[in-house]
Symmetry: C2
DNA sequence: ATATTTCTCGACTTTTTTAGTCGGGAAGTT
DNA sequence: AACTTCCCGACTAAAAAAGTCGAGAAATAT
């Protein structure tokens, strides 16, 4: 039941981790990798890609690392997933069996359902900010203390 | 943006096709395959699997083929997807990066979101019957005639 | 300067999943 | 007996996802 591929989850977790340490200077890939249980060399690739979004930036050298360039309140899971998806995939028909030309073109009985599902998923993604997730974690930790 | 794998879509379409011809005797794999643009030999496999659900049965020989054993009003897309998923996959944590042991066990900040998404998807799947899809197709065809 | 640290880049490999195929047999029909 | 259709299991192919690697470039420290 993996809703979204691991790579996407790693990306979300990486940004989540950066958000937690926002304002405290750059955070090394190795630290993020350990904190979020992500293979470091793979995370390298993912963070590189995320730089392209503008939400994340990096610095090299001794005190180098990655840091967030935006407020955790202003970035949603939906934003990130859409960025990772890329524009080409988003243009595709959500309903369609074959990529490109649909054998049922336009008259597909299933299309409305797939679209509803897609919308329902992204409604949740879009209303979940990174800040919400941080709050969620705090709540979990507090509950653990009792 | 494939929400569900092709195999699942083929399975849904196969049952959908059988539902359309319910009560008119068995329908051949080859016919279903052509009507729904599914590779025939692959459909063979899928229908074989679907027999295990009890919603579908078959007959061999000259006038053989597949037929539905239940009412299209009483079977939902959710039912079918869950059957195809299998019990093992359903037991897995929807949120979890690694299958089996979660590195964040129980205290994962993302879990509530993934669960919400899963629930939202299945809400739609569960409230869509095969009969609804048939009605949807009729509506599409009627609209085309104008 | 030079050594060290950390990101950077592209190509590459491996693993997993999905999709699809095939041959030959079994049950029905004519 | 000939023909049609499902049936079964193993098998292959293709695609996507996950992960790795080596060498280089910037920043900092000593």
């Amino acid at each position: 039941m993996a809703i979204t591929p691991k790579k996407n989850q790693y990306a979300l977790r990486a940004i989540f981790e950066l958000a937690k340490y926002l304002g405290q200077g750059p955070k090394k890939i190795s630290e993020i990798a350990e904190a979020q249980a992500i293979p470091m060399r793979f995370l390298e690739v993912i963070l590189g890609q995320l730089k392209g979004s503008g939400w994340v930036d990096s610095k090299r050298g001794f005190y180098g690392g990655y840091f967030l360039k935006c407020s955790p309140k202003e970035i949603t899971v939906g934003d990130i997933l859409r960025f990772l998806q890329g524009p080409s995939k988003q243009a595709e028909c959500v309903a369609c069996i074959s990529k490109g030309d649909c054998p049922f073109d336009g008259q597909c009985a299933f299309a409305p359902m797939w679209n509803k599902v897609d919308a329902a998923m992204f409604k949740i993604y879009d209303e979940t900010t990174i800040d919400d997730l941080i709050k969620m974690e705090k709540k979990n930790i507090d509950r653990e203390k009792i």
